[in-house]
């Protein structure tokens, strides 16, 4: 009955592990994607995590969870990404995902004015309800369709500046600015004093070894 855990079992779930070289610092951040339905939240994540684009990305029920690791200089940053459902009815579940998040990407579709208004509402809610130090990025997605845009770049940029948000127009389809926006977030996140160690949903540091911990940059 007592099955011995296979060797290497602890790391078998994820491909992108830092190789454990001791000079590498490692951090882990919880990031949540919010925004109107069908603006491309799941597609942005898929592009960032797997480098893929599906033209018929299925609608997200509840939420999906993915991780991706990137390196900035000598720091390994692991994103735990919560990709949420966009329909208003699922709105009430959102606090479960953004509570304790250190970063959020609020997405709108540059072809859709309503989705931009919706993004503003999300930003307001995050300012009110999420962790005070949360890093928020605004992503104007579907930038490959900029010839039929409705939301002007300057308008969104100005709004972002007024609200201290990172801002980029992105295209999950072409990959434009997708890695960049995650990278920009990673750069802005604190990586040196365990400042990301707040929020109730950060897992405790268990007995595991050889893995990045939330207690940053050991």
């Amino acid at each position: 009955m007592a099955t011995t855990p296979r060797s290497g079992g602890a790391g078998s779930g994820t491909a992108q592990r830092p190789n454990g070289t001791s000079q590498n610092k490692s951090c882990q951040f919880k990031l949540v994607l919010l925004g109107e339905s069908a603006v491309g939240k799941s597609s942005l994540v898929l592009r960032f995590v797997k480098g893929q684009f599906h033209e018929y990305q299925e609608s997200t029920i509840g939420a999906a969870f993915l991780t991706q690791t990137i390196c900035i200089e000598d720091t390994v940053v692991k994103f735990e990404i919560w990709d949420t459902a966009g329909q208003e009815r699922y709105h009430s579940l959102a606090p479960m995902y953004y509570r304790g998040a250190q970063a959020a990407i609020v997405v709108y579709d540059i072809q859709n004015q309503d989705s931009f208004q919706r993004a503003k509402t999300w930003v307001k809610e995050l300012h009110k309800q999420a962790s005070p130090n949360i890093v928020i990025a605004l992503a104007g997605n579907k930038a490959d369709l900029s010839n039929i845009r409705v939301v002007e770049f300057d308008e969104a940029k100005q709004y972002a500046e007024e609200n201290a948000l990172l801002f980029m127009e992105t295209s999950a389809k072409t990959g434009m600015n997708v890695n960049d926006i995650f990278l920009a977030i990673a750069k802005k996140l604190p990586k040196n004093d365990g400042a990301n160690n707040q929020g109730s949903s950060i897992r405790p540091n268990g007995n595991e070894t050889n893995r990045p911990t939330n207690n940053c940059c050991k």
Binding site: M1, A2, T3, P5, R6, G9, A10, S12, G13, T14, S37, A38, E55, Y56, Q57, E58, S59, T60, I61, G62, A63, A64, F65, L66, T67, E80, A85, G86, Q87, E88, R89, Y90, H91, S92, L93, P95, M96, R99, D114, Q117, R118, T121, S200, S201, R203, P204, G206, N207, E208, R211
Partner: protein, 485 residues
């Protein structure tokens, strides 16, 4: 512009938008219905499509092995038996039970599902209702935009839904649009496209509409309560799921608690679409067969079955992302058990839950069922017509948020107690000698985790109740089929 004029303009805009979308579906495949190139795939499909119409990444084998030949033979025999049984409906309950659990043959799923969902009766009782709802929906539904967005991405890897504005896509749009009027309290919620999409793989449009209605509003299935604002049934089922886990799979429950794996994170989609896209499609159909026969407690039992069959792997995983990825992605691609083996396990879990009186969750409250008369047309209010989002949460939603947050906080407390227990006492013992339930239980005394335990749990664990599944052992000889260890 005055406020009034502005509102009127917004209403006009919403009406125009709806009209435009409806028109596209009415044109269907008509060549004048021009779509953007990306809306229709052009890839080659003939070698990659399975028997359910789903397309895969690579070519499927062209020859079948002897086992598959054998299965086809069995299925042909079953076809005949089912045809006889369907002709003399209703059959004796035990006979029906046995046959449904063996799997309804693909060829008779259409008539069989219709019987189980009482579709022909519903149609006969509601002559003219569906066309009327459809007409009203074309003019008044406020859900058209969301439905359009979801139809455009539902099962696009299936031949039936692959082509934009294909017959099935149009049917899916119509069914959901009409239902949003028929059950105006529920409207449309993401997830319903998947449920209706599955029904339409086996039924005609109007049949699927009434089948959907039965799934939503019949006491036996009650999916209305899952999809309605505030998700009251989701909360009730998640709580019961936790209760079951804490009683019969305590180790896994503790493991999940420790790694912040809240059941809400993995079970929403399980419950909302009855395991479609979370286990292989063929297996989800087998679960649907049983769900249609025995109702919503099957969903709870299947959730437990999945965790139980995979608990060894799950217990080996040391962080949340591995666990969530396993449950969300890996099991869909490869379940690790044959469909028959998985269903045998489900059957035994159902029996076990019944023996322990855990099969039925607490009864539904009235908010899980429609309060308005179905089919009574109520014109939507101005905000809904415009499609404007509310700025504030409703009271129901506030309650959901409070509940969700208190779950998280409770979880955090449980984690704390688990961690302090592990770090202060015998962490290595827990990790290396995990199977001694007595020592775990005594070590846990005084922690909040232990307080979930009950005498029932003890007896279950002490008796080491076996789930004997010969086939399952054959396919994975190293597995131990023990519940609760």
């Amino acid at each position: 512009m005055t406020d009034g004029e502005q509102r009127e303009a917004l209403v006009r805009r919403a009406e125009d938008e709806r009209e435009e979308i409806v028109k596209r579906y009415e044109l269907g495949l008509d060549p004048t219905n021009i779509v953007d190139p990306w809306e229709n795939p052009t890839f080659e499909i003939y070698h990659i499509t399975d028997k359910y119409g789903f397309m895969h990444d690579s070519r499927l084998p062209t020859t079948r092995n002897s086992q598959e030949m054998q299965l086809t033979k069995i299925e042909l025999e079953r076809d005949k038996k089912w045809m006889k049984m369907l002709a003399k409906w209703p059959p004796p309950q035990d006979k029906l039970h046995t046959r449904v659990y063996k799997g309804i043959p693909k060829a008779v799923r259409w008539p069989a599902w219709k019987k189980l969902l009482n579709v022909d009766q519903s149609i006969a009782n509601n002559v003219g209702v569906y066309p009327r709802m459809l007409q009203l929906a074309k003019k008044y539904s406020t859900e058209t935009r969301q439905i359009d967005a979801d139809v455009n991405r539902q099962f696009r890897d299936n031949l039936a839904y692959r082509e934009r504005y294909s017959i099935k896509q149009c049917s899916l749009f119509n069914v959901l649009n009409a239902y949003s009027i028929y059950n105006s309290e529920l409207g449309y919620c993401q997830g319903m496209a998947c449920v209706a999409g599955v029904l339409l793989l086996f039924m005609q449009e109007e049949e699927a509409f009434w089948a959907l209605n039965t799934l939503m509003t019949d006491q036996k299935y009650g999916m209305h309560g899952l999809f309605i604002e505030g998700f009251p049934k989701l909360t009730r089922f998640i709580d019961h799921h936790d209760r079951i886990l804490s009683k019969i799979m305590r180790k896994l429950h503790k493991h999940f608690t420790k790694h912040n794996v809240d059941a809400l994170l993995y079970a929403i989609k399980w419950f909302f679409v009855v395991f479609v896209e979370r286990v292989p499609f063929s297996l989800s159909l087998r679960v649907w067969d049983i769900f249609l026969l025995d109702g919503d407690r099957v969903i709870l039992a299947m959730a437990i079955t999945i965790l139980y069959l995979h608990k060894d792997e799950l217990l080996r995983m040391k962080d949340m992302d591995a666990i969530i990825e396993y449950l969300q992605v890996k099991l869909h691609k490869n379940f690790g058990y044959s469909d028959d083996d998985a269903i045998h396990a489900l059957e035994r879990v159902m029996k076990k839950l019944k023996d322990l009186k855990l099969d039925a969750p607490p009864p539904a409250k009235s908010n899980e069922f429609p309060t308005r008369t179905l089919g009574d047309f109520v014109e939507a209010d101005m905000e809904k017509k415009i499609g404007r989002r509310r700025n504030d949460y409703t009271d129901t939603e506030k309650q959901v948020i409070t509940d969700v947050i208190s779950r998280q906080e409770q979880n955090a407390i449980d984690v704390q107690s688990t961690v302090s227990y592990e770090t202060s006492e015998c962490a290595t013992v827990t990790l290396t000698v995990p199977e001694d339930s007595h020592s775990i239980r005594s070590s846990l005394a005084g922690t909040s985790v232990a307080s979930h335990g009950s005498s029932e749990t003890m007896s279950l664990e002490d008796n080491n109740i076996h789930l004997k599944t010969a086939n399952m052992l054959q396919s994975t000889p190293q597995r131990e089929m023990l519940l609760g260890t």
